[in-house]
């Protein structure tokens, strides 16, 4: 029938433009890299590229966590302070209690998951809007980090292996010419794992379905509360990984750090083409978004553009990214 044939065209057009948006983000990333490398010979130095990747690792992992929640149609404002909270937990377990490294890592990730379960419960069971629930969690975690740490940074000097989590280079020991730090490796592993969960598992399918039409999922007889809490828990666990990364990079858990990171993370998600109204989004898009932010910051710094202006440019890019997404939708 002509009607079905033509709707088929619409579908391929829309799927194509979805990919197009990611392609556009990717093309912008490449364009930025080209511009900066032409503008400054220092930009394409291996050391600088590694610096960019290293700078992306924390924000990238946080942005992946934020992506999960945003696909369900929610928002997570607590990713930044949760990251800090998990770092502090690791600090207490490793430095104050003198536990082995593995337990510290586990504690950080479990603390993240537990906090995610709390956020998810507020949202799913108590029906508190995600914005408010996670705003509350953001402050709770910020306060708790200061309480647990006694408002002082905790150093990991008694756990020598800890800095290796982010700064060592497994790849570098295997391929000596490629000293990619573990932080970057972890970012990509987290990205691959999360992508896999989103695309291939039942948890991922419900993540999209909840964002697409939660009521329809509930009326299909699915325990939507449980799945939503699971998504927040997974996001929280990923924040725990981010906490380990940042603490390892600084060789300390800085309890006052964290607030503001959630905005960079959400910016990366949005630039990567994930819809804030839920139901749509990809991890690869978020990765590209996070890279765009770091490349921009790094490139502008190399060109001696003041930090203030970097912030202005990032703001403009967010607006531009969302606008291209709107144009794409209108094109339908």
């Amino acid at each position: 029938m002509s009607a079905t044939a033509s709707t088929a065209n619409v579908s391929t057009a829309s799927r194509f433009s979805g990919a197009q948006h990611r392609l556009l983000a990717f093309a912008s990333l490449i364009a930025l890299i080209v511009v900066f490398s032409l503008a400054s010979p220092n930009f394409m130095q291996t050391s600088n590229i590694i610096a960019i990747l290293q700078a992306t690792s924390v924000n990238g992992v946080l942005a992946i966590a934020a992506t999960l929640v945003i696909i369900t149609g929610g928002i997570d404002l607590s990713v930044g302070t949760l990251m800090t909270f998990c770092a502090v937990v690791a600090g207490v377990v490793l430095t104050s209690w003198g536990m082995p490294l593995g337990l510290g890592v586990l504690a950080a990730i479990l603390a993240g998951a537990a906090s995610g379960i709390a956020s998810g419960t507020f949202v799913a069971k108590l029906k508190i809007p995600p914005f408010i629930a996670t705003l509350g969690m953001m402050l709770i975690l910020k306060g708790l980090s200061l309480v647990i740490s006694g408002t002082r940074p905790i150093y990991f000097n008694s756990t020598p292996g800890f800095t290796q989590i982010s700064q060592g280079s497994l790849i570098g020991t295997v391929i000596p010419g490629l000293p990619i730090p573990n932080g970057v490796l972890i970012l990509f592993l987290v990205a691959i794992a999360t992508s896999f969960i989103l695309e291939r598992t039942i948890l991922g399918r419900f993540t999209f379905a909840l964002g697409s039409n939660e009521e329809a999922v509930r009326l299909s007889g699915v325990n939507t509360d449980r799945w939503k809490i699971a998504v927040y828990a997974l996001a929280g666990a990923i924040c725990g990984i981010a906490g380990l990364l940042i603490a390892s990079r600084l060789n300390s858990a800085q309890p006052a750090l964290g607030q503001g990171y959630e905005l960079d993370a959400i910016a990366a998600v949005v630039i990567g083409g994930t819809s804030l109204s839920g139901g749509r989004g990809t991890i690869i898009g978020t990765l590209i978004g996070a890279l765009i932010i770091s490349v921009l910051a790094n490139g502008l710094r190399i060109l001696s553009v003041a930090q203030e202006w970097q912030t202005v440019v990032t703001g403009l890019i967010i607006i531009l990214a969302v606008y291209t997404d709107i144009l794409r939708r209108r094109g339908l």
């Binding site: 088929a8 391929t12 969960i197 291939r200 039942i202 329809a216 009326l219 299909s220």
Partner: protein, 514 residues
Amino acid sequence: MNALVSMKDIEKSFPGVRALHNAQLDLRAGEVHALMGENGAGKSTMMKILAGIYRRDGGEILLDGKPVEVNSPRQAQDLGIGIIHQELNLMPHLTAAQNMFIGREPRKAAGLLLDEAKLNADAAEIFASMHLKLDPRTLVGGLTIARQQMVEIAKALSYRSRVLIMDEPTAALNDAEINELFAIIARLKAEGVGIVYISHKMDELKRIADRVTVMRDGEYIGTVPAADTPVEKIISMMVGRALTEDRPEVPDHSNAEVVLEVRNLNRGAVIRDVSFSVRKGEILGFAGLMGAGRTEVARAIFGADRRDSGDIFVHGKKVDIRMPQDAVRAGIGYLSEDRKHFGLATGMDVRNNVVLASLSRFAGPGGLLRESAMHEAASRYIDQLAIKTPSDRQEVRLLSGGNQQKIVIAKWLLRDCEVLIFDEPTRGIDVGAKNEIYKLLNALAQQGRAIIVISSELPEILRLSHRIAVMCEGRLTGILSGGASQEEIMHLATLRGEAANHNKQDKPAKGEAK
């Protein structure tokens, strides 16, 4: 009579879809012109072009015989063309008058202040001309849908509209409200306003339309006078073939097992002491006026809303249903009247919607989904239910209403539900596809499922039901056998208050005597 508006050779394409081709319409002053066609025939697109919401790709629009350009809703208003959308566009927190004159508020004090007094007076004047008793200062959010629609009409009139487009205005109205709307339409008509009326309801056509233009697949099929054209002719113009109407043969279910039994269901004032049962292979119709509590009963059985008291038995065993997941586990599926909001994840594809209620069955270790098994299941139902879709990866929002409904049905069939509750199964579905849905329901009953159909369209109830439960104001006022007449149903549907209780005692003798 000269044409007030004529649209000629209108062409419109969207990316990948030709929405209109050689479409035309001419509207006279002082007539109600019905625009008919199946869903996707291009009616709404045609009217959105006239109202300046879409731009046409080709063709011309004449107003009073002169070519005009309508490139924005603003231009349309200036030309005196008003449109009342199916989804009303009002601001609930503003008053009726504020809504009508939004952006055009009368000013005072050199334009610095709003002149509320004049605003309300102007609105009141228009209400008076419509013989509508409504305080202009009423907040719109507190009005019924029917009243909100009146405000939309008043708003359109405030632009001195000579052309008024109404897109399915009666979809959410009850009979009394429809009468009120038709009275206003008659008055507007007498004043020389030309009205384009889009509707799926044939009986309305006969009541108010002067002429009917039929569209199919984005093309003009023909224009006929409403009074002397038989409904069958119009339907065959719409679907391109003739439809046959048939009344069901009611099979004897008296020996069949009772699958679902509901006893003394209560929920506040909306459900009062409702008891009934459905047997294997039976279709139980639920008739009643808007607000009679039929949907509420369905949602309470399904666990979507809390119930105050009442027991539900499946195969004679009491089940404790608190949430939809409990109902689904007990083998009860509910197909909401509002597919877009409650039935489908429209942004997801056919495959995922079909498996949505059974997803855990397709998850292996670690929650890994077996896509090939999902594809097989979806494809099986695409074949079985004749769902028209290019593939199971098609996004559901791109399919027609009838096909979307079939996807919801597939979802519950895959879940192996023995009891299926259909709430307005053919709402928003065009005539041709309705028949297919009816056949499907009959086939499902024959396969031994117990089916409940809630419908506001009496012909639909009569055509499908083996028995008919009638509700009024939260009470079950009687259960009739399949051969019942419309009058019998209407009698029970309007049986209010205490009379209903008396009636209920002697009614089973008539309905449930089997």
